[in-house]
Subunit: 352 residues, 2 copies
């Protein structure tokens, strides 16, 4: 059986291992990873493996007796190339076609690609996807752009979950990939006033390019007060794209009456909230997770139509042997938004 | 100036004091209290005065420097009789008319009647309401029934905030006044399956009379599992009417995917939540507070039309000198649902 390079996360450490190349099962396709984004959740599971496994165990996704040193093959934001089809497939796209997909395996009980033990991920040279979920990547779309479809879909889903009206004021807290994706989706939806906030002033230009109408550095100014001022009689919809659990209570305390708070971060640390304020303000707190397949497809289409300045989001590229170093960089304060792994080549992190 | 008996809550203690009868200001009406319900929030502010004042101070409703021994004249669920009109009024209803109203004073900056310092309440013999908010009580409706309009409106508002569909399954947690009110509103809305839960088995009969289709004692059986089973592909909408903050996390942990949780209790104690579960389940957490005037009017109408078995909710009556004793009863485990104060008479708590 052929071997391949794979990034293995085990109990908080990454390494490049030689493992068997997977075989596609019924309904499955073996693909070669062309480009894969490093997601905040990849960083999170690496730093807080035990917390994330606890959630999986409570939800019944992982066996309750599994140890914390289970290996995870990371990578769920990908562009890939079809290598071979398993049984019970149609061969609907030619071998060699570039594809992406919603990163789940319906053929494996809905398991998440690249986020849990027992499933291959796109940080590796090869991995497995479902034929039924394949989306061809248009020729005009570079692989690294197609890999950004996934975070864009997370942002679009959060905006759709918010049911925001065009006259409501959006406050997108955090201009990382999900925040920028939310901004793009809000612009596409026709929301007139989109306030972006981020403690890095350099994010302003990027946020505006994605569609923000206003930018606030929350260290210097009160982003919630600005959104409330702009909203007047309309609603303020805060879309939390930071992933710092203490901000949830902060937003509840500072939000104006009738505000909606959309939580996109997965906060595995227990969070203490002063719910009386949420009650008195009659807030809606909406939790958003993943996306629908049609949202994913819509985001790939937005990229193909040139509506998303994805180059501004992609701040680094790295080969398979540089992933560990890239994680070290991301563990510390840094200016990166999205680093794209190209698992088929070697090379240290290159900042673009 | 005439004197009156008033129940004064000061730093956790109640007493019957002789104080000046209030004078109605512009747009205001002096009313005589005929019947006033004891609300869970009256108990809460008495036991946790400092916590509630902290919330008021943070919201700017109370001066930040005010001490915890500010007096509160309780009582916001009332039927009353018009005594005299202030200036700038129309005299739209004859003196002697029985009325109720949404318990706020638009003439006093939207202050809440009977819930904060500086405003009169309906536990007292006389208090002040706005002419603009007066609703006449139909002759067929006893005063003690009209006093139940307010908690019914709280329940109706929570149901309206939930936007529950008729095929969704409601789980009403807690069969106190707000829970029973929510059940009545769900029935009125046409929701087909209404699961009520309460640790007191005796609540079953009352919950069913209000419109519940199923009853679970959560000490013995899993009410969330039953609701999820009944819902199938439809949503479960949990309406929290208990006011115990630890239940919020409990419901987040136990709820099925896509569940909605409507919080009606005012949880002034900071609450620790495992938000990752809310995220992975894509829950909506909706905070409901007070009601709209049209919801209040609709509830009075429901009583008048005989659609609400309010007698089952009213478990006790008490005169003004028995209120302190009634609170002592309510501070301990008890079987009461709603005790009605008749401030115009004397008498110890009478269980009905």
């Amino acid at each position: 059986m052929s071997q391949m390079n794979a990034i293995v996360m085990k109990n908080g450490s990454l390494s490049v291992n030689q493992i068997d190349r997977p075989e596609p099962g019924p309904g499955q396709v073996l693909v070669k990873s062309l480009a894969c984004g490093i997601c905040g959740s990849d960083i999170h599971i690496t730093r807080h493996t035990s917390d994330v496994f606890d959630v999986y165990k409570t939800l019944g996704i992982m066996d309750a007796s599994a140890s914390d040193d289970q290996e995870v093959l990371l990578g769920h934001e990908y562009a890939a190339e079809i290598v071979s089809y398993g049984t019970e497939t149609q061969g609907s796209l030619p071998v060699g076609s570039r594809v992406t997909s919603v990163p789940i395996l319906l053929t494996q009980g809905g398991a998440g690609v690249g986020v849990m033990p027992g499933v291959y991920g796109a940080y590796s040279e090869y991995f497995i996807v479902d034929e039924a979920l394949l989306l061809p990547i248009p020729d005009s779309v570079p692989s690294e752009a197609a890999a950004i479809t996934e975070p864009l879909a997370v942002g679009l889903h959060a905006v759709n979950r918010s049911e925001i009206g065009v006259d409501d004021v959006a406050l997108v807290a955090g201009c990382g990939p999900i925040g920028l994706a939310a901004i793009a989706a809000l612009k596409q939806r026709g929301v007139k006033r989109i306030v972006a906030s981020d403690p890095q002033d350099a994010k302003k230009e990027i946020a505006m390019a994605f569609g923000a109408t206003d930018f606030v550095n929350p260290v210097k100014d009160d982003e919630v007060a600005l959104a409330a001022h702009l909203a007047g009689e309309h609603k303020v919809v805060i879309i939390e794209c930071v992933g710092i659990h203490k901000l949830i209570n902060d937003f509840i305390m500072r939000a104006p009456a009738k505000a909606k708070l959309v939580v996109t971060g997965v906060h595995t640390t227990p969070t203490t909230l002063n719910l009386a304020y949420a009650t008195v303000k009659e807030m809606d707190v909406i939790f958003s997770y993943y996306y629908q397949p049609e949202e994913f497809a819509a985001c790939l289409n937005e990229i193909a139509e040139g509506n998303v300045p994805w180059e501004l989001m992609r701040t680094g590229k790295v080969g398979i042997d540089g992933v560990q170093g890239a994680f070290e960089t991301l563990f510390k304060p840094n200016d990166h938004i999205k680093i794209i792994i190209e698992p088929w080549r070697k090379g240290e992190l290159e900042t673009l």
